[in-house]
């Protein structure tokens, strides 16, 4: 019952705000305005969060999983599905992160969206998103999960194109939706394969089947897992389907923070962890996950170095961090993937909200070339942003140090891991520290490089925006402390996370770590710190003392040009995928199939029936006596027919 309340509260908020949006638009007068809408939306999510906390810490404390069924959803042949929500330790982590971060961001949104004409609609979409996300997290069967999966995609589309009057934003929304659909197709194929082979779609059954005794051949198990992973690459913006996420920054900044950094994009990671029974039975798929994660982490980190849009940098950073999560999952360290998912949700949400605060203060300017020196003007934003930056760069004892170090350690030591991947990951971590401190130095240090008008307007954001920043900054600091490795705490501080997730993620197969001496582990840990310091040091040397205007991107040469243009991946996709598809659609499907075939059949049948009718119209002579004749002949035929029959 409680799980249903958790899921339904945001839906109630979404529906009530949605209805009011329609009524407001139709009647031209406000039933309620942005204040009430914001309070309802925030209240719904906050209530969900409170109940979630109760469920996780009180109800789940003594049991392995809580499962609650509402009613039977469908029964088709052998497939029986019910609306069942399941809370176990994996979904508990995700549930707390999603409802918690959502609450903070809803609160921030009240300040951010102030003055927008369609703020009620905004809150309706935001609540709808939380509802879909909760379905995804708590659904205990693949179809239910898929409903949430598609639902968050829909809300992402609606919110990226929230200011749909700007065509560029509408196109970005469309791009996100279409790229996601490509991934979803993989998810569907995986689901079909699983159903065809095991005849059940509940998560527990699937994991259990693949763990216990896979009747499927090795090849098909891997195909199934890779299909599911393709779904994850779409939703979680991995190579080759990451292109939508940077464009998705066209949406309002809290949306970028909530959907495109903290929650929705981590759904792919969550899904892989959810189906770890399947993935552990598919070693090739595990390698694919590991490598794709590592390559994505590396490539998007390099792109982020040369971006000048504050939100684009963070977007590529998100892609990169998601790559780290997949690296962890690919190395078999599902608990660590979830750990990094959680810490990432904190510091990335903080960074995005901080960037929103900066953009707000800069009257809409997003280009860091025209910022600088905001430190004294926006102290709260500066401090929180700095804390989150230190966290993502991996300085101890901030959150990402523990999670990222654990990821690299697992990649290094796990039986699924790989030393080359470890090197790639370490370089990506170095780049992460570098581009994040570049962002900080260009934004907050040096002298102001914008216009005088912007300088005049420059102000610290209101309390509704800075308070969430502070909450998230605190979480970015202490969020990692629940997973301190034993080696560092020497057993004095319990590794809460590992203890909590241990059973849930090793239920369907254990992953063994190769044995290394403690000195190597300490050495790698030291290396992580060294990497973070090196990134900070290079960024400081290059950007801390910058004077005057920064060069125009058009003058970039060589490697910086390549990276500024994101390896021309978008252009490449345009050339090899989008344009051929468009020309195929126009030349074959439109001009031949549609215009010739379908229109031909439709118009042809219409005109041929017209011709038949012309033939029969000859019978209508206008002479009454001929009609009389037809009648009598008809009656005679009817009588003759009856006579013959009887």
């Amino acid at each position: 019952m409680e799980l249903f309340i958790i899921v339904l509260l945001p839906l109630i908020g979404a529906v009530s705000n949605g209805i009011v949006t329609v009524i407001n638009a139709a009647r031209g007068k406000q039933v309620w305005g942005e204040k009430t809408a914001g309070v309802i939306a925030f209240g719904a999510v906050a209530a969900s969060f409170v109940i979630s906390v109760y469920m996780v810490f009180v109800k789940l404390a003594h049991s392995e999983a809580i499962s609650q069924t509402a009613y039977q959803w469908m029964a088709v042949g052998g497939l029986k599905l019910s609306i069942t929500f399941m809370l176990d330790h994996i979904s508990a982590v995700m549930l707390l992160v999603v409802t918690g971060v959502s609450s903070v961001i809803h609160f921030y949104s009240i300040g951010y969206i102030h003055g927008d004409e369609s703020s009620v609609r905004y809150f309706s979409y935001l609540n709808l998103f939380v509802f879909a996300m909760l379905l995804l997290i708590l659904g205990d069967s693949m179809p239910l999960m898929f409903v949430g999966w598609e639902g968050v995609g829909l809300c992402s589309y609606l919110l990226i194109g929230f200011w749909y009057k700007d065509e560029e934003k509408a196109i970005a929304g469309k791009k996100a939706f279409i790229v996601n659909r490509i991934g979803d197709f993989g998810f569907l194929l995986g689901m079909f394969l699983i159903f065809a082979n095991i005849g059940s779609l509940t998560i527990a059954d699937v994991n259990h089947y693949f763990h216990a005794n896979p009747g499927m051949t090795f090849f098909w198990i891997n195909v199934t897992a890779i299909c599911l992973f393709i779904g994850a690459t779409g939703k979680s913006a991995q190579i080759p389907l990451y292109v939508w996420l940077p464009d998705a920054m066209a949406g309002p900044t809290p949306v970028s923070a909530l959907i495109h950094a903290a929650t929705m994009v981590t759904a792919g990671v969550y899904m892989v962890c959810r189906f770890h029974g399947l993935f552990l039975a598919a070693p090739i798929a595990m390698h694919v996950v590991l490598w794709i994660g590592a390559l994505t982490a590396f490539f998007s980190a390099t792109i982020a170095i040369f971006q000048n849009d504050i939100k684009k940098v963070l977007a590529y950073s998100t892609v990169s961090q998601l790559g780290f999560m997949f690296m962890a999952a690919g190395a078999g360290a599902f608990a660590i993937a979830l750990f990094h998912l959680m810490t990432h949700a904190f510091f990335k949400a903080c960074l995005f909200l901080g960037s929103g605060s900066v953009i707000h203060g800069m009257s809409g300017e997003q280009d860091i070339r025209f910022m600088g020196g905001l430190k004294s003007k926006m102290p709260h934003t500066y401090w929180t942003f700095l804390v989150a930056t230190i966290a993502i760069a991996g300085f101890p004892p901030f959150a990402a140090f523990f999670s990222k170090d654990e990821i690299l350690w697992n990649v290094f030591a796990s039986e699924y891991g790989n030393k080359i991947v470890w090197v790639i990951g370490a370089i990506a971590a170095l780049f992460t520290a570098f581009y994040m401190f570049r962002l900080v130095y260009l934004t907050f240090f040096g002298e102001f490089r914008g216009t005088h008008e912007q300088e005049h307007h420059l102000h610290e954001s209101p309390k509704t925006m800075t308070v969430p920043l502070m909450i998230l900054a605190v979480l970015s600091t202490i969020g990692g402390w629940i997973g301190i490795p034993k080696l560092l705490s020497l057993g004095f501080i319990p590794n809460v996370l590992e203890h909590y997730l241990e059973h849930a993620v090793s239920k369907y197969g254990e992953v063994h770590l190769h044995h290394y001496s403690h000195s190597i582990e300490y050495g790698l840990m030291g290396l992580s710190v060294a990497i973070a310091i090196a990134g900070w040091f290079f960024a400081k040397r290059k950007y801390a003392a910058i004077k005057g205007q920064l060069p125009d991107p058009a003058t970039y040469k060589g490697i910086s040009k390549l990276l500024y243009n994101k390896y021309w991946i978008d252009e490449l996709y345009m050339k090899i995928v989008v344009n051929p598809l468009k020309s195929l659609s126009t030349n074959v499907f439109l001009n031949i199939t549609d215009k010739r075939l379908i229109d031909g059949v439709a118009n042809g049948s219409a005109s041929s029936w017209g011709r038949v009718a012309m033939m029969f119209s000859k019978l209508q002579t206008g002479n009454i006596q001929s009609y009389g004749f037809y009648m009598i002949v008809g009656a005679a035929l009817a009588v003759a027919f009856i006579w013959i029959i009887f």
Binding site: K618, Q620, T621, G622, N623, I624, Q625
Partner: protein, 108 residues
């Protein structure tokens, strides 16, 4: 089915024969005479054939439904004649002709 009716009862066959001949004559008149007035008379002839038929079977089965129906047909036929003749008179006044071949405006 029909045969057994025709053969049934006393003099049934003659009545049926009269009915059929009367109906056929009416139909002939309706189909082949070229003036509207004659065609109307042909229709009346057919209606009377039907009435006769109804009366015969009504008596054969000792059932009054047929007689009632034939009374209704009288009424309808009288109305029809009144309306029909009125139309024909007006047509004649307007165009000076009641030949059916002149009224073929509804040719398809």
């Amino acid at each position: 089915m029909f045969t057994q009716y025709i053969l049934a009862g006393d003099g049934g066959v003659f009545t049926i024969a009269v009915v059929l001949i009367l109906f056929a004559l009416g139909a002939m008149v309706f189909l082949f005479r070229r003036t509207l007035l004659h065609m109307l008379m042909g229709v009346e002839l057919m209606l009377n054939a039907v009435n006769l038929n109804l009366l015969f079977f009504s008596r054969l089965y000792q059932n009054h439904d047929g007689q009632i129906l034939s009374l209704m047909i009288f009424v309808v036929a009288a109305c029809e004649v009144a309306v029909g003749i009125a139309i024909i008179v007006h047509l004649y006044k307007r165009t000076g002709s009641i030949g059916v071949e002149n009224y073929t405006e509804e040719r398809g």
